[in-house]
Amino acid sequence: MDKIFGRPKSLRDIPTHYCSGCGHGIAHRLISEVVDELDIRERIIGVAPIGCAVIAYDYWDFDCCEAAHGRALAVATGIKRVRPEAIVFTYQGDGDLVAIGCAETIHAANRGENLTTVFINNAVYGMTGGQMAPTTLLNQKTATTPFGRDAKSAGYPLKISELLAQLSGVYYVERVSTDSPVKVLAAKRAIKQAFINQIEGKGFSLVEILSACPTYLGMKPTAAVKWVREEMTKEFPLGKIK
């Protein structure tokens, strides 16, 4: 009998440390599948963020490097510039990419670095205990917006993908979600495209993945996924942005 589904070669067989219903695990797997399908495991170098995915490299069976909180795209720039033949990507949360790393993100994108970024938008800071992220929705309760995010004092959800799409150096930006099997498949297609772009030397590509953090939404996994589908996508519409 033919085996038609199994663990990607680039994904290690270890127990997960993520909470149940967390989107990170799905995204890790999609990256591994794409790496296998494009046969780039021996060329790929991942840059892990600071956030719940800080040990993403424990799951990926290929070369990885750490970056300080928010500096993943600066580290990736250094790697890619001295190893143009390598396929270099960053994996970053919304705190990492949009808040503390906003300057590094915008400038790497604006330089048109030939890199791929997988951006996990879960609308909260997971690792530090569910504080407000730049992408937290208005009225959303978090540890640091206990009465709901109020635009008057905490500003608005920051749509970094739309912002980056304005930059000449950016080649490809797409927002996807992991809230249903169909959307997961679409997410994989986008990730694959973002890697193919790099292989073809097209410039900066970013895939934003809307992802559930049931733990700090204070919801059951199914409710959290539903919240992503129904609430998050209103603020962050899915589709190709550039």
Partner: protein, 396 residues
Amino acid sequence: MRNQKLVPKVEILHRETSGSRRSSYKVTAFGKTRNQKILISGNEAIAEAAVQAGCRFYAGYPITPQNEIPAYMAKRMPGIGGVFIQSESELAAISMVMGASAAGARAMTSSSSPGISLKQEGISYIAGAELPAVIVNVMRAGPGLGNIWPAQSDYFQAVKGGGHGDYHNIVLAPSSAQEAFDLTMFAFDLADKYRNPVMILSDGMSGQMMEPIVIPEDRKNLLSGICCLTSEKKWAVTGCKDRLPNLVASFRMCLGDTEKLNQHLQGKYKQILADEQRCESVGIDEAEIIIVAYGIMARIAKGAIKTLKAKNIKVGLIRPITLWPFPETQITQILKHRLGRVKYFLVVEMSYGQMVEDVRLAVNGKAKVEFLGRAGGGVPTEEEIIKRLEVISDKL
């Protein structure tokens, strides 16, 4: 790579900069040349030395008084297959250096005091991830924005860690353009050897001053010589072809593992302390008073010593070349052999007393330690040093 035969031909160009004539250098070609004497600023000597040490990645953000370094690199790197990036900030520059180094390249960044404060984040990560990197601090006056005048006020930051965590930079302090050249080349070897950040601690005066230097064809007598090849960096992230995946990270998930990493680092620092202390000593065998000064301050002190010799005041000099590891062995040896005869140490700094703390620790009460310093752009003059030494001499 020892005795590298290829040295660049350097041509002196002149460019008009708002009426004033400043020279700059254009490297025209690589070829065999005899010992070459060129006139060069301290900053440019550092940049050219980095290139000759095999540095092929430079990232930095403009700040005075070190702007000659990025400008030199911007011109020099493209012709030799190197990378120059003007980064969006010092935070980004040091992280770019971290990436380039993780990928196996010899990499450098430079800045001046306020920018070096921003680099502390990355330096701490580089130390924790055990990556080689060279960081140049052309110190200016602080605190805050301070000003562009020279200072030595970042000594604590450089030698005591600077960023978070129990780590050490190796810190080298050149006192001439020639030494800036030699020590920068050496810095890359030390960085590779120990997989540790190495800081060149210069200052605005040393960086701007033009001096003749010799770029020797014969490298045998240079400190530098190991020139670690990328292929030897088995830990680098290069894509896991024909080997298990590599990971470059300071983070350890399990409690005991971070302590283990710290113990490993401490072992490395102990080794560096034992093997890498360097200093220049002048007139120690006769001295009753010993000046301790580094960088440009040591050169000014040498002038004072000459004058006092004529007045029969016996003053020697210890000039630390490595600030970390601090050359404490030299001081303890002197005290062992000349106990009672060396009565005073005078520490002279362009700060309000930073290195003096390390001198006090080394002297450990076996002689008196006095301090003379100015900061914020003030530089202790030869006359001030002489006056102070005369006062000390009267107390002998």
